[in-house]
């Protein structure tokens, strides 16, 4: 039995789990990055270390001389978390080879980076680390903009969102480009045996996936939908609600690409599988956009309906492609 099978994601068990990310950090009230960090570390059952790209989670959890981390934690720069982790993992490999550390020890190396540090500036380092096959789990928490520096657009920002570098102008209504499909880019690296999406509103799914990924010997990837109250212009209580709406509108489907058995299997996980089985549960994208201040300007425009319809067409197309890949 592998540790993943022993590890139960039943709530009764999860409440007993230690977490290695403590309170007292300086993330905003309701911040989903903090929720994610707590949940991820709850899946740690073996020696683990964390490598972090520059970003909100980094600056808010490690203001010298304080630290919210109870596991070894290292930050180097913005674009190089995957490369830095590659070096760490390589060093552990040599230490095992040379008998400095126990030969059969497995150390879980977990990388956290935001969408800016992953989709944009860190994409090359990530691709390099995946191609080289380092034994690490890369977790991208996607809040859809450079939130740490004040809500500038990234290539993960949804179309029409107003950010400080794609503002809702009188001529151009926010960001005009659709976001990049990062999970597909990651999956294009055949070294990746396990890549999945999840959200902070689905803790059992998230923790289970972290544990499954950590049990793989090689690079694995998780994309976590992580609402930002400041950037999305939502109340601090609404983060998890936005997670749920992202899944229910199929803007952010929850799925897994699994190659652990040697075959490649794409599968929808519980929150999205429900919608695949009962398509009438699929909500229009408008329901996701409406509560968010970053889309407010769209609802005031004369062509608002048309613009929202374009998003609906995009989301539907992506969802249909995913359904087909997952055998629906």
């Amino acid at each position: 039995m592998t540790e993943a099978e022993e590890f139960s994601t039943k709530y009764s068990n999860l409440v007993e789990r230690p977490t290695y990310f403590s309170g007292g950090h300086r993330l905003c009230a309701g911040c989903n990055a903090g929720i994610m960090a707590r949940l991820v570390t709850m899946a740690f059952t073996r020696p683990a270390v964390v490598v972090q790209a520059t970003g909100c989670l980094e600056v808010a959890s490690t203001i010298y001389p304080f630290s919210a981390w109870k596991v070894p934690w290292l930050h180097c720069a913005f674009e190089n978390a995957a490369a830095t982790a590659s070096g760490i993992e390589a060093a552990y490999r040599t230490m095992r080879k040379r008998g400095i550390r126990s030969k059969d020890e497995k150390i879980d190396v977990v990388v956290f980076a935001g969408d800016g540090g992953t989709y944009d500036i860190g994409l090359q380092a990530l691709s390099g680390a995946l191609e080289r096959g380092h034994d690490l789990l890369y977790i991208c928490y996607n809040n859809g903009a450079y939130m740490n520096t004040g809500i500038q657009r990234s290539s993960a920002t949804p179309r029409l969102a107003s950010t400080t570098t794609s503002p809702a102008g009188s001529v151009i209504p926010g960001k005009m480009e659709f976001p990049k499909d990062l999970t597909a880019i990651v999956a294009a690296h055949d070294t990746v045996q396990f890549a999945a999406t999840t959200t902070t509103a689905h803790p059992r799914d998230l923790i289970g996936k972290v544990r499954a990924a950590l049990d793989v010997d090689g690079p694995t990837f998780l994309l976590v939908d992580s609402p930002c109250q400041r950037g999305w212009r939502i109340d601090s209580s609404l983060g998890l609600e936005m997670n749920r709406l992202a899944v229910e509108t199929c803007i952010f489907p929850v799925y897994t690409i699994d190659r652990r058995t040697g075959k490649e299997e794409w599968k929808l996980d519980t929150p999205s599988r429900k919608i695949a089985r009962r398509p009438e549960l699929k909500k229009p994208v408008e329901e996701y956009m409406k509560p968010q201040g970053r889309f407010r300007h769209i609802f005031r425009r004369r062509d608002g309906k048309e613009l929202i319809e374009q998003i609906q067409v995009f989301v539907d197309r992506k969802w249909e492609v995913l359904l087909a890949k997952c055998g629906y």
Binding site: C76, A83, G87, R101
Partner: protein, 392 residues
């Protein structure tokens, strides 16, 4: 120990081989390529058991070195020119994290226009990064300093990364005899690296925190302090190397300076040209000498001053340049002039740029350079930085 013919790059690779570092993360770039190629041979032929991380860029090379070194591992890399500039951001993090990463640089001109040949500008651009910066006159020095650098960088008082320069092509691709050491020598000379707070699971350290105005200032001072301590450590390390190998080095070296009325001041392979010129001129009865800056950072100001204090006329010859530094503010010249400031009259000190992009500066040109300096000095003329051999 046997003397073996090898190129400068090969010498560096052989030195890295006997060290057998824990991790090497590197990316190929001319004229450093032979270092990574040869080291890859050692890895794939089982002559070292280093984990070689063949990264997708120099930025990732230095990042992986930072990660690996933070675990307490012994780490080696090599690059040049554009590769070094791509690493630039992470160089500062390596030094401020106090990680003794050892990096060989096959010094090459910086683009643009693109040029692959020898020039020291690349390494001099690291000046303010916190790295210890050494230069080599020949392949033997490149070999010795690659090994020595681990002792300097890993010294408990220092804990800083070290760069070792060897002129691109002029050394990196030129064959010379190198007196080599063996594994047993290195085992005795270089004990396992000691690190107080390694990044390993049983040691929950937080490394690379956000440091605001309340602490940043003091932490930066600690790097300065380490650089100052290196002023004591480096000469000791050179002496010990001399005792073990018979090859004695100094941070600032003098050649035929006892009664000299003029001395060339150079770094890297130019020191060889300067010495050959000195030999010729001495035969003609000219009282000339040469001073070699082996250690550019930390700057051995007192040692430098002692070397030149009795030499009335000096000719600085740099295979590097700094735009807009036309008066006396070239890379090496500005250090020379600021060392002399308050200590002596420096009217008869002449700054030269030469050999950029790998252009040769042959002995007749060095002699002419000397004659010019001598003439200017006799007239007590103050001169702007000279571009030697510049075509109209």
């Amino acid at each position: 120990m046997p003397i073996i013919g090898m190129t400068g790059d090969e010498a560096v690779a052989q030195a890295a081989k006997v060290v057998n570092p824990d991790v090497c993360a590197a990316y190929p770039i001319t004229p450093q390529t032979i270092i990574v190629e040869r080291f890859s041979d050692f890895v794939n032929d089982g002559e070292v058991d280093t984990d070689f991380v063949c990264v997708e860029s120099e930025h990732s090379a230095m990042s992986a070195c930072v990660g690996a070194s933070a675990t307490g591992a012994r780490v080696f890399t090599a690059t040049a020119s554009q590769g070094l500039l791509l690493m630039y951001e992470i160089l500062f993090i390596a030094a401020s994290s106090r990680l003794p990463i050892i990096m060989a640089l096959a010094n090459r001109a910086v683009s643009g226009p693109i040029n692959i040949h020898g020039e020291l500008s690349d390494q001099l651009l690291m000046r303010d990064s916190g790295w210890i910066s050494l230069f080599s006159e020949n392949n033997q020095e490149a070999y010795d300093q690659t090994i020595l650098a681990f002792r300097i960088g890993e010294h408990q008082d220092v804990q800083l990364p070290v760069a070792i320069g060897l002129d691109g092509f002029i050394l990196s691709h030129a064959l010379e005899g190198v007196d080599v050491v063996d594994r047993q020598f290195v085992r005795d000379y270089l004990p396992p690296r000691q690190m107080k707070y390694p990044f390993v699971p049983e040691n929950p350290v937080t490394i690379g925190l956000l440091c605001l105005p309340d602490f940043y200032y003091e932490l930066r001072y600690q790097i300065e302090d380490a650089n100052n301590k290196a002023l004591n450590v480096i000469p000791d390390m050179f002496n010990e190397w001399g005792e073990r190998t018979g090859r004695y080095y100094k941070p600032i070296e003098t050649y035929q300076c006892e009664d000299a009325e003029f001395a060339f001041i150079t770094m890297g392979a130019f020191a060889g040209n300067a010495k050959a010129t000195v030999d010729d001129l001495r035969e003609q009865g000219e009282k000339v000498g040469a001073i070699k800056i082996r250690t550019f950072r930390p700057w051995f100001g007192d040692m430098f001053y002692n070397a030149i204090k009795d030499i009335p006329t000096l000719g600085i010859v740099e295979r590097a340049h700094s735009f807009g530094g036309n008066q006396h503010h070239q890379m090496l010249a500005s250090d020379v002039f600021s060392t002399l400031y308050t200590k002596r009259d420096f009217k008869n000190v002449y700054s030269h740029i030469a050999g950029l992009g790998g252009r040769d500066l042959l002995i007749p040109s060095w002699k002419e350079l000397y004659q010019n300096c001598k003439e200017w000095a006799s007239e007590e003329r103050v001169m702007e930085t000279q571009w030697v051999g510049l075509r109209e």
